[in-house]
């Protein structure tokens, strides 16, 4: 790092008499910040290119470094020069007068509706106006009026009267997210901000423009009129939306979370936040929230006291052998909670039947993860900075924008600024990957490795492979990735979609793993852990994974299941788990009612993510702190499991998250010897079922996940579900763009409009998993399976491929300015 700094040429200049040294190319406004001089600004933002449109940062330049003075300059666009002298508003009357003039100009048409505006109290324009020497405007005409807040996107309200034309939102769209949502129309006094038509749901990053807007022109419809800045209590925490580990600020009023904001420093990871992280916190505020324990009596779940529920759970679990119980903790737990599940399984229930992966998984993936965790390879995982040093990135079974949005933004930044080349191994070039200018390696699902080899793409130490969780069902992909990484020195990152899977793997929530990367059955490793846990022995047999647990439950070998947050729809075959839960004694630890509650015999309420302290492990294998923003009345999973252990006459060893983390940290480090590591063997290919095309599907960032319940703006932003096929496949099957397709597999039917996608691989149909299931029906088929694609018998008018007509209406509304002005008597 020092070497880098030293290599940059430093320039010395004087700002308000203070001498400061900055690297060449720095703008004056940045240099002034370093000198401790604040120059007011609206358009300038450290992460966006300078444009100099708001004119608020005018400064006087008595000496431009060549002995000559310049006229007033915008300090955000002026680069520093050796020997330059800058006089800001603090020392120059000319600059102060110019800034006051600009401020007055900006306020000419700015409405004085601060009492109604959400930005009031945290508004740079308001602060600026209050600092202005002129507190009363000289303008006594009628202000320009435009229709008040319009819904620019489902999540954003646009109030053009308040806009100061700083273009931050416009530049964010082109420079950062790639979703062009806003543009400037007109010139001069008639310039106005407009939402682009066709910017359908608004993309996944639209919420950032609200946070960027220096005035109240863009406000959040989710946070609209919810609170005032002065009454909010803010907490720095970590987003649990995906494995990105983004820092967030959680704002609470009156014990209710009102909003989340990106909390990363400028030009650092987490400076931006995706909309899922920003708006996806309403789930715990819905009516389905569980607040008291419940026990099934005569077939009905009824409210019960804690002792009653603990007794009922203990009664159902007591006397069962280790092989007769299983735990499905789910993939959204903090490290502490996952560790509690892991220890509860081994110490209290004496079983290794535990699997955090409530999704399609495979033996190959279990071996891959076990090997990586046991050999402590995760500790040297690539991180965000690795992407900036890499020359090429290969995306294997991974859609960055859908599965890890922060990673997508990092990739896009590296692509734009550092010339990173991205290869997307996928059936078609998704919109997200197109924004990365990725080169498509078109392949059928399950054929990724062969397609990559056929393209002749060679990997080396400057390459990064980003492998998603869908690689589990693409036979041989994980094996190839691990071997290639070892052979070529390419970096390999495995990126799960859920926030808690890496923590759960570290905590040993896999049938093959114990906490800290110890292998089940490795006698030496078990011995160290048993000592730590005050046990004589630990269960030595490798447990069942999710599929094994459901199968064993159906045959009666497993008689009780403890579940955490579980969404049946995530599973490859939900019916299998439904039957398994129906036949067993089920204890559910849940934040809110879900389908699992219907099968649960005892339900314990647990704290929502915003209500508990904890630790998340992001995809770079960095620990990220989760801090309780609200003190709820429901305990974390740790406390419930500890109480249940006590009810079963055992001791979990801790009752609080803090103690659980201390217990985890106290485990001595362990690195397994290579001899005991499992070898990765490719799973056998899924047997081809009847069908004319191969299905490809993945979850989108915004879909009908339980964790997004109650987030109305996200539900409105969801992309319309379409079935994508290549032109040839469409022709072969008699489909045209916009026609309604029917996809059938195993008795289930999916209906949706066809979107013919050029460049897509032939013989494949892509549909989003778990989107608009209410209308489309859900298909229980995995990527790579054969399905039957036909034209739907009857057209379904409610499935319009063009989406809602809102944006056309908005476009009609764009030019009322001229009429409004014409109507006024001047």
């Amino acid at each position: 790092m020092n070497a880098v700094v030293n290599a940059v040429e430093l320039v010395k200049l004087t700002i308000d008499g203070r001498s400061v040294q900055v690297p060449r190319g720095t703008t004056v406004i940045r240099a002034a910040e370093q000198a401790g001089v604040f120059i007011p600004r609206f358009c300038d933002h450290p992460a966006l290119q300078p444009v100099g449109v708001c004119r608020q940062c005018l400064v006087e330049i008595p000496d431009a470094g060549n002995g000559k003075s310049l006229k007033l300059q915008t300090s955000c666009t002026l680069e520093v020069a050796e020997g330059m002298k800058v006089a800001t508003q603090a020392t120059s009357e000319l600059a102060a007068a110019a800034q006051a003039g600009v401020s007055e100009l900006l306020l000419l048409n700015h409405p004085l509706d601060c009492p109604e505006c959400d930005q009031a109290g945290e508004c740079p324009l308001q602060n600026q106006a209050m600092l202005s020497p002129r507190q009363v405007s000289r303008f006594d005409g009628v202000k320009r009026h435009l229709p008040k807040a319009l819904a620019a996107t489902p999540a954003i309200m646009l109030d053009r009267e308040r806009c100061v034309q700083c273009m931050r939102c416009v530049r964010f769209g082109t420079e950062v997210s790639g979703d062009v949502l806003f543009t400037m129309l007109g010139r001069g006094a008639e310039m106005q901000l407009a939402a682009c038509p066709g910017a359908a749901g608004g993309g996944y990053f639209a919420g950032n423009t609200v946070q960027l807007c220096p005035v109240g022109a863009l406000t959040s419809s989710d946070y609209r009129f919810q609170a005032r800045p002065f009454e909010l209590v803010s907490t720095q925490s970590t987003c649990d939306g995906c494995a990105g580990g983004c820092p967030i600020r959680v704002d609470v009023k009156n014990g209710v979370v009102r909003r989340r904001l990106a909390a990363g420093a400028p030009n650092q990871v987490g400076e931006w936040l995706c909309d899922r992280g920003r708006y996806g916190f309403r789930s715990a505020q819905t009516a389905e929230r569980i607040r008291t324990p419940m026990v099934r009596k005569d077939g009905l779940l009824v409210q019960a006291s804690w002792p009653e529920a603990l007794d009922a759970a203990a009664k159902g679990l007591r006397g069962l052998a280790g092989s007769q119980v299983a735990l499905l903790p789910g993939g959204r737990l903090t490290l502490e909670n996952a560790y509690a599940y892991s220890r509860f399984a081994r110490v209290v229930l004496r079983t290794n039947n535990i699997d955090c992966r409530t999704r399609a998984s495979s033996d190959e993936e279990t071996q891959f993860l076990t090997r990586k965790q046991a050999a402590q390879v995760f500790a040297t995982a690539p991180d965000y900075a690795t992407l900036e040093r890499a020359k090429q990135v290969v995306l294997l079974c991974f859609e960055p924008e859908e599965e890890s949005p922060q990673l997508f933004l990092s990739l896009r930044r590296a692509v734009r600024n550092l010339g990173l080349q991205v290869f997307a191994v996928a059936p078609y070039l998704s919109a997200g990957n197109a924004k990365l200018h990725a080169q498509l390696v078109a392949c059928k699902p399950g054929d990724e490795v062969r397609a990559l080899a056929a393209q002749g793409i060679t990997l080396n130490a400057d390459s990064v492979m980003l492998v998603g969780e869908r690689a589990a069902i693409s036979a041989g992909t994980l094996k190839w990735a691990a071997e290639t990484a070892a052979a070529t020195g390419a970096k390999l990152a495995w990126i799960p979609r859920r926030s808690g899977e890496l923590a759960a793997i570290a905590a040993g929530c896999l049938p093959t793993l114990l906490p800290g990367g110890r292998l089940v059955g490795d006698a030496r490793a078990c011995a160290t852990l048993a000592t730590q846990w005050h046990m004589t022995t630990l269960p030595a047999d490798v447990g069942h994974d999710l599929l094994g647990i459901t199968t064993a439950a159906r045959t009666g070998d497993i008689r009780a299941i403890i579940t955490g947050a579980l969404d049946m729809r995530d599973l490859p075959d939900p019916e299998l788990l439904r039957r398994a839960l129906g036949q067993t004694f089920v204890v559910s630890l849940a934040v809110k009612q879900s389908e699992v509650s219907e099968y649960a015999d005892v339900v314990f309420p647990v704290a929502a993510p915003d209500e508990q302290d904890g630790t998340l492990i992001d995809w770079t294998h960095t620990r990220r702190p989760v801090v309780a923003a609200v003190r709820g009345t429901t305990p974390p999973d740790v406390a419930v499991l500890a109480a249940l252990a006590t009810a079963l006459g055992n001791d979990l060893g801790f009752h609080t998250t803090k103690a659980a983390l201390a217990s985890y940290n106290a485990l001595p480090p362990w690195i397994s010897v290579p001899a005991v590591l499992p070898t990765i063997t490719a799973t056998s290919v899924i047997p081809p079922a009847l069908g004319n095309v191969i299905l490809s599907t993945w979850r989108l960032l915004l879909d009908e996940a339980y964790s997004l319940d109650g987030a109305a703006v996200l539900q409105a932003s969801m992309p319309t579900a379409v079935a994508r096929v290549s032109p040839e496949t469409a022709q072969t099957n008699g489909l045209v763009d916009g026609a309604i397709a029917q996809i059938g597999a195993g008795g289930a039917r999916w209906h949706g409009p066809v979107r013919v996608t050029p460049g897509m691989v032939n013989g494949v149909v892509w549909i989003p998993a778990l989107t608009q299931t209410a209308e489309c029906g859900q298909l229980h088929a995995l990527s790579g399976e054969r399905v039957i694609l036909t034209v739907a018998a009857s057209p379904m008018p409610w499935l319009s491929p063009n989406g809602p007509p809102r944006f056309e209406q908005l476009w009609d509304n764009v030019y009322p300015l001229r009429q409004a002005r014409g109507g006024e008597a001047r």
């Binding site: 509706d113 601060c114 009492p115 109604e116 009026h145 008040k148 009129f225 009454e231």
Partner: protein, 201 residues
Amino acid sequence: MSALSGFWITLRTIFRRSFTQRYPQRGKELVTAPRYHGRHQLNRWPDGLEKCVGCELCAWACPADAIYIEADANTDAARYAPGERYARIYQINYTRCIFCGLCIEACPTRALTMTNEFKLADTSRASLCYSKEELLAPLAVGMVAPPHERLLGLSEQEYFAGLPPTGEPDKRIPSLDIPRVPPTTARTKTSRKRGSKRGGK
């Protein structure tokens, strides 16, 4: 002589009516000073819409933290105030209020003023948390209880035109051209009697 004049004052005062009153006098109390800081009132526009926009500046100004507000957005379907925003919940806790009047000074819309009502004694804490319904000014002649559309002009522009530079009280009469929403929850009582029917907070 001067001694006598002193006695005269005493004698005169003995037969004068005493200024001090006994309390309670069941409505026979003398009127307070015109600018007495009594119970608050949330005022209305001449058509009955609320002047309060839920900006929370009063809550911010309050040194006793006696005011609690939850704002919400007006919609065309349910309009309580002429602008975008209104106070869905507005509570003043009179066990906390110190009647300093800073909230009145902070109010940007003249929605919050103080009345001369000073008889606020009650038997429970909950009953001293006044809700918005209790604080709202009674409906005067021509006013319709919200929610309803803007009866002084359909657009915000029309509604507010001419105000506030006139400096005169707003005496406009709601336009009869605009189809009216029938007053469903209109109140006629002008001074509210505090009693057991109160809804609490």
